[in-house]
């Protein structure tokens, strides 16, 4: 169980890592899929609506066409029957009626047999004809099956024709009813008039309602739609389900559906979401009703939608795979570059492997160039650090050179011999402080306060040695004292001022002034060591300044060059040392440093 959980957890992590939304790869895939899917979905939705409308229109026009066809077929059939009924005024028919009404059975023998033969021949013209008969106003009917008696009051066809005038010569139709054999028929008839336009009876044809099934039965409006016929009393006279024949249409479609059917091709919605189209078959005043199921429309639409969905889903799948592939193509070099960068963070000697010539390839190349530059700068930095150590060491060596120590010790001995014990103590303290600052526990940066104290100790010792030959003055701004500087920058300059400046004076009165202040921009610290000594040849001064501006010339003018070199290595070439002539004689050495807190 635990193992299973760990497997799931692993899979989840892999999935999460694979589809990190913040990753370029996921963004690319999502954008690609979204950009290609959204238009497709919009197009599919739009097409769905348009197709739905077209399909519905097609169904309506197809239903109308089918209803028209049924109407035409019924009309054609009726016109055939009408032609047959034109035989009603045949001599034998009239004689039979007259003799029958007269009650002459024997005299009617000839006509009876003749009519049986004729009527049976007529019936055989069409397979749907059940009976062809002549009915007299006496209620005697002669037809294909013999002679019967008819209750005229129950015969709607007869009643219709009897109530017409002799001028009305059109056919009459009696909707589905049982014939005398009990089978369902509908009857078509025409009146027979005597010599004085007197109504004698009628000739009628009983048609098997199967005819309606033959005309309408095979028609299917879609899969479940169908045609039905309704008589003038709103009774169903044909329906594919025989059980419904004879029932009222209102019960099937709802009473409200019976209204507004006066015009042909009225379209209504019926129960069960049925689309109803209606046309009146004028000769019989029947309604031809086409019912199609709107659900089928939905079924059709479902097919289309299913196809569209299949295409969309397949396309999304394919596009996703393509997006993954393209994302892989695009992001893999980036990942390789990222990998290279990661390696480079640990080992600068690696290079990104360039596979492509595109932007990523250019990026890789630039990265490689950057790496090369970093390596170069690193080497340079290492060299500079090394150089810094070296110059610092040499500066230190300069400060602890043996004759300075011997001279100072001789000075102390001299002071002891003259019992200037206090001076001895001060000198030894100054010397100790001098060397303590020089070493500074190996620290490279010290406070300006320490640097100033360091040069002050040095000047104290030198002043003891040299007596009143010169004097010194230290003026450093208080705010400057806590800022930092590299060590041992003032002492070599002061040493030069003593040995090449004020000591060379013929008379006493030499002065060394050390000034420390912020320059105007407040970002630069400036020290000036000003002596009023013998001065310097301008050409030499220029030579020294040139040496200071150019690196690698520290072998000459060692002390000042060492200071200048260390400043530039530590803070950059814009800082350093510069010599100038002190107005009135002497040399002014200006040291510029950045403000280091």
């Amino acid at each position: 169980m635990t193992a299973l959980k760990s497997v799931f957890a692993g899979l989840q992590n892999r999935l999460v890592n694979t589809f990190k939304l913040r990753s370029l790869r996921t963004k690319f895939i999502l954008s690609f899929v979204a950009l290609s899917t959204i238009p497709m979905v919009i197009l599919a939705t739009f097409s769905y609506g348009v197709y739905h409308d077209i399909l519905q229109q097609n169904i309506q026009s197809y239903t109308s066409e089918v209803i028209d066809r049924v109407d035409r077929n019924l009309e054609i059939y009726l016109s055939d029957l009408e032609r047959i009924l034109e035989l009603r005024n045949d001599y034998y028919n009239l004689q039979f009626i007259k003799l029958s009404l007269a009650g002459d059975v024997e005299g009617n023998r000839k006509f009876t047999f003749r009519l049986w033969e004729n009527l049976n021949n007529i019936r055989n013209y069409k397979t749907e004809l059940r009976d062809v008969s002549i009915t007299t106003i006496g209620g005697v009917t002669i037809g294909c099956y013999g002679v019967t008696h008819t209750d005229l009051s129950q015969n709607k066809l007869f009643q219709t024709l009897a109530n017409r005038t002799s001028k009305e010569n059109s056919i009459a139709i009696w909707g589905p009813h049982p014939d005398w054999l009990g089978g369902p028929v509908f009857s078509v008839g025409k009146a027979i008039h005597g010599d004085y336009d007197n109504f004698l009876g009628m000739m009628s044809i009983d048609v098997d309602v199967e005819l309606l099934d033959r005309i309408c039965g095979n028609i299917r409006l879609g899969k479940t739609g169908y045609i039905m016929l309704v008589d003038e009393d709103n009774r169903i006279i044909y329906h594919p389900n025989p059980e419904l024949i004879g029932k009222m249409i209102g019960a099937l479609l709802g009473e409200s559906s019976l209204t507004d059917w006066q015009q042909d091709f009225t379209t209504k919605m019926g129960p069960g979401n049925q689309l109803i189209r209606v046309k009146t078959f004028a000769p019989a005043n029947w309604k031809i009703i086409g019912l199609s199921n709107r659900f089928e429309l939905a079924t059709e639409m479902q097919k289309i939608t299913r196809l569209a969905l299949t295409i969309i889903v397949s396309t999304i799948l394919v596009l996703t795979l393509m997006a993954v592939y393209f994302a892989h193509l695009l992001t893999n070099p980036l990942k390789e570059l990222q990998q290279s960068m990661r390696q480079a963070s640990e080992d600068l000697n690696t290079n990104a492997v360039i596979h492509t010539m595109d932007e990523i390839g250019e990026l890789s190349e630039t990265f490689n160039q950057m790496l090369a530059r970093i390596r170069q700068l690193m080497n340079q930095s290492v060299q500079e650090q090394e150089k810094m150590r070296r110059t610092e060491m040499r500066a230190l060596q300069e400060q602890i050179k043996p004759h300075f120590i011997y001279n100072t010790l001789d000075l102390i001995i001299g002071l002891l011999e003259t019992n200037k014990n206090e001076d001895v103590i001060n000198t030894v303290e100054a010397l100790g402080a001098f060397f303590r600052t020089s070493l500074s526990h190996g620290q490279e940066l010290i406070t300006i306060r320490e640097e100033v104290e360091h040069v002050r100790n040095y000047l104290y010792i030198q002043k003891i040695r040299h007596g009143d030959k010169y004097n010194y003055l230290i003026e450093v701004e208080e705010q400057l004292l806590n800022k930092k500087t590299i060590k041992l920058i003032l002492q070599p300059i002061v040493e030069n001022a003593i040995y090449h400046g004020v000591r060379e004076l013929e008379t006493a009165g030499g002065l060394i002034t050390i000034k420390g202040f912020f320059m105007e921009d407040a970002n630069t610290v400036c020290f000036q060591v000003i002596d009023n000594g013998v001065g310097m040849d301008p050409a030499k001064m220029e030579d020294i300044n040139r040496c200071l501006r150019e690196s690698g010339t520290e072998q000459r003018y060692f002390g000042i060059s060492n200071v200048n070199e260390r400043i530039r290595l530590a803070f950059g070439p814009e800082y350093g040392v510069e010599l100038s002539a002190t107005p009135g004689g002497g040399v002014t050495v200006t040291i510029k440093l950045p403000v280091v807190k």
């Binding site: 913040r22 769905y48 023998r109 033969e117 099956y145 049982p178 099937l252 939608t305 999304i316």
Partner: protein
Amino acid sequence: MKGVRIFCLSFLLLCLVLSLSMRSPALSPDYVVAVAENTPVSGSFYPKNRPITIAIVPKSLDNPVFVDSMETSMQTAKELGVNLEWVGPFKVDPDLQVKIIEGLIWRKVDGIAISTSDPEKIRKVIDKAVAAGIKVATIDADCPGSKRLFYCGTDNYKAGWACGEAMVKIVTERGLAHKRLRTAILTGGIEAHNLNERIRGFQEAVAGKLDLEYVALLACDDDTTTGAKMVEAYIKEHPETDLFFFAGGWAFFGPTESMPLYQEWCNNGGIAVSMDTFYSVLQAAKKGFAQALVGQDFRKMGVLTVKYLVDAIQGKPVPMEYIDTGLELADESNFDQLLSEKKPWEMK
């Protein structure tokens, strides 16, 4: 993690929306059947206080032998104040006859008289009619084994027997009684009980008296034209035939000019005995197409059938189950007399 969830949820939602949009509602059944009670399409064929209605169902309408019965039955019905319907298939068709009788049962007529074309098929529908309370009789052709009330018509066995006796007499007179004679028979329908009874009567009457070899049994389905054609064709193929027994006179109902070969056969000594003594049959016999005839009384059949059916409907007793309407014998001796008494049908 959140991004993955959003992506998956969006995709699932899209699929769900699309699938829901495509969900088709279940198709409704073809027809909505929840409708109001069916209203009867038609009422009874007859008003409640209608007169008694009797239907006579002949084997076929086109058989002229029933003309006399039809006319007398109609006149009798008129006299008795009842309606009489004469209904049947135009040509012999037992199945249609059954259907017609069923129609009469549906219409609830008061009485039915049937000339049975196929007892096996008609028996059931007769019993059905009886069960429906209709008085049922048979006329001309009985339906033995049925629940019919009575039979009114010729005793067909006796009629056949009379034909057989007439044949024995003629053959004996011609001195051919000792000879084996090839005999052909024309009947109407193979299954017709009345015709089969005639054939049985004929065969039993001649048995032991004549040596007959029955070489053919021709069935014309009670059709006059077919009967004449079949006889003519048979004689053409088998002129050696010695005797012909006609179980009905169909072949002679029409003009005899259509049977020259048969006429020649008769002239060459062919002997024929036929049922029926209608005017046209008598005419043919007088021309030599038959030497003896045995007739039925169709007029009497019509009268008695209606009378006894009405009696039965009115609850009166019927005198007997088998009402024999008698026979009429004819030979050369009375052809002219009978011709003078009868009238041609004149149906065309």
